[in-house]
Each structure stands twice: as C-alpha cells, then as structure tokens.
Symmetry: C2
DNA sequence: GTCTATAGTTAGATAGAC
DNA sequence: GTCTATCTAACTATAGAC
C-alpha cells in the first residue's frame, strides 16, 4: 500500500470515529507514521483528503452494492426468478448477508459512520449517503419486488411498500447495532424475525 | 429568556448543524450577541455547555415522548383500548402526528440531529440517543401491541415484530427527510402507505 | 518523499477593569 | 455580567534542507 493510500485509510478510520473537525492533520499523520508536514506532499489540504475519500467510496460503494446482495446482473427478471426460487431459509440467509455486509465490511462500515456524522456538514457526503442508503436501496428493491409480483412469487401489493417493509428493519438495525459488535447475535435474531414475517405475509406458497 | 438559556439555545442550534468540534465558543457567543469571554461567566467550559444540553434534553425528551404520541397515562390496558377504538384514519392521523413531532418540533429535531452527528464522539449522547430513538420506542410499542393483541384488536403475532413493523418506517423516514422540509408531503404519503398496510395486515375487523 | 522549523491563525480559557 | 486584553495551546499550511 502506498503512503497516499495509507493516508486515505487512516483518515477514513479517524473521520468515522471522531468526525472531520475532531480529527487533526497531525492525528492522521501520526496514524500513518509520518510527520504532518509530509502529508502535504500527497494532498494539498485536509479537505482534499476528505473529498477524495468521498469520491473513492462513492464508486466503491456503488460497485459493492451491485456485486453484493442484490443484483447478480442488472436484469430484474432473472434476479426475480432467482430470488423466487429461494426457500424461507434462503431468504433469511440472503438478508443476513446483506445486513452483515453493511454492518461489518471494513470499508462500508467506516464510510457509513463517517457519512452519518458528517452529513449535515459536508454537502457532498450528504448526497452520497442519502443516495446509497436511503434512495437506491428502496428504488432497487421496489423494482425487484415489482418483478417478483409479476412472476406471482409475492402477493400483489404496492411494491414500494414491500421494499420499505423489507429494508427499513435492516436500516434500523444497522443504526442500532453500529457500535456494539458483541450484540451481533441479538441483531441477527431480530432481523430473522422480521424477514420471516415478511416471508409469511407476502410469499405466495406453491 | 436568560442569557444562560439563550446560550443553551444557540449552542444547540449550532451543534446540531456543525457538530461540537465544528462549532467554536466564539460562534456561540456571536449568536447570543456577547463576547466569547463573557460566556465563561455562565459556563466553565464548552464541554459543560454540551453536557448540560444533553441532560436538559434527556429530561425534556423523556417527558415529551410520554405526553406526545403514545401513552396518555402509563396504563397499557387503557391505552390499548383507546388506540383499539381508532379507525384506520385515526391511526394514520396518530402516526403522522408522532412522525411530524419528531421531525419538526424545534427541540426534538435539533436534539436528534446533534445526537446523530455526535453519537460516536460523546458517550453520554450516544446512550441517550439510542435509548430514546432505538430502544424505548420499540420497548413501549411492544408492550402496547402485546396488550392490543390480548384485547383482540390485532392478530396474534410476536408483538416485537409489530413494533418493528410500525416504527422502523417512521425511523427511516425521519433520517431520509431530515434536511428536506419541502418534501414533507412526500414523506407523509410514504408513511401513510406503510401505516395503511400495517392496519390492513394486523387489524382484526369487527 | 521525509524531515525540521516556522509562519499565521484560531481555538479554549483566564484576569481584571467597569 | 459584560467588556478588553492576554495567555497558551493547537491547528492548517508552507519553506527549505536532506
């Protein structure tokens, strides 16, 4: 890893814990193991470090979200069929995978925390955070459930409602168990109950 | 309003927008209309201002949460009967009232934002925020729905699941529409759909 | 690309006049 | 209880040696 990448890395960790203003250039340099003045050979300002993190993570998150969890490709019809073939246990496993990815993936977890604490302060991260965690998720799931309803996998209710019922407990649990990795089992138990209920209500049995 | 109260007031506004480290003592003093040094006649440090806000808001929030929205008294049996008599429109109105209170009440809205952006940095506000917005809400609703199930108002499923299904969309929408008061109608529309669905699924019709 | 040295600014906080 | 003046420390950032 280059020094530049190391700086990004340590800055992300510190920003996600103490926030932008709570982290000094010296803190970052210390974490990297260089003097604060040396840092300016790689970046022109502290703000630039932050902005580059936002850009980098924006692309990374977009890519990860696509690979992970939801669309294997961007074809909703095949995705719907694929998920439709899942048993209840398969659906539980899938939701756990998505939840734990957002909760524990080192990049995603730090980025989410940084975004949460800097969203009112830094315009760029507000947009990215809201797009990824509050808009795209619902948008994608709505389209997916729409297709699954068309394929008679789920009962015919407003797909947006399905998306909300599926995703909002995940979002809530992410916020709730953010700082308590030791309570992961409890989080998963609650998640399983919600997804189980979702399956019970909306899944059309063969 | 005394100067001391004014300081608390302006500090809360600034902390909720720019965070603790993003707000200087001078910023607060300017907002109040005094010199920064004068501020130390009322508080011994910047941290003390923050801590007093947390304590004050903790009590205020606790009281408001009780008055508002949910329990008219702490008797779940009567509360359950009361809410059981609500029509669908009554339930929608109630959920809207709770949502808009958390979203727009000047104290609650600022406190929630401050809590969100300082939760990883200040231990005291982490506890208060999680207790009020992530634990108590679910805990209270679980007890309430438990009682409503016993009274055959709702179908007999795990009351905790009901509480999550009722509350997590509200929580999600609070996060989503925090900074966009102009999109309030859109938020309410989505909330109504979720609560309507909740009513449709779980309410036992006479 | 790292270091030392330092400029220039702002931060939180105190002393003492009124 | 507000002000001016001031202290000390920390901050972002730059200059220049190696």
């Amino acid at each position: 890893m280059t020094t530049k990448e190391l700086i990004i890395e340590e800055a992300l960790t510190l920003f996600s814990q103490k926030g932008y203003h709570g982290t000094s250039v010296k803190d970052i340099a210390n974490a990297v193991g260089i003097k604060d003045s040396s840092l300016y050979k790689h970046f022109s300002s502290k703000q630039e470090i932050f902005d580059i993190i936002v850009c980098t993570m924006e692309n990374k998150m977009e890519k990860m979200s696509l690979e992970m969890g939801l669309p294997p490709d961007n074809n909703f019809t095949s995705a719907a069929s694929y998920y439709g073939s899942l048993t209840k246990e398969g659906l539980l496993a899938l939701s756990r995978q998505v939840f734990l990815f957002y909760l524990k993936d080192p990049f995603v977890a730090r980025f989410r925390k940084m975004a949460i604490i800097e969203q009112y302060n830094q315009e760029n991260i507000y947009r990215v955070y809201h797009r990824i965690f509050l808009e795209s998720s619902i948008f994608y799931l709505t389209a997916l459930f729409q297709e699954m309803i068309a394929q008679h996998i789920f009962v015919a209710v407003d797909a947006c409602i399905l998306a909300m019922n599926f995703y909002t407990p995940i979002f809530f649990l992410l916020c709730k168990y953010d700082q308590t990795p030791d309570l992961e089992a409890q989080a998963i138990e609650c998640l399983d109950k919600q997804i189980g209920e979702f399956y019970r209500i909306y899944r059309i049995c063969e």
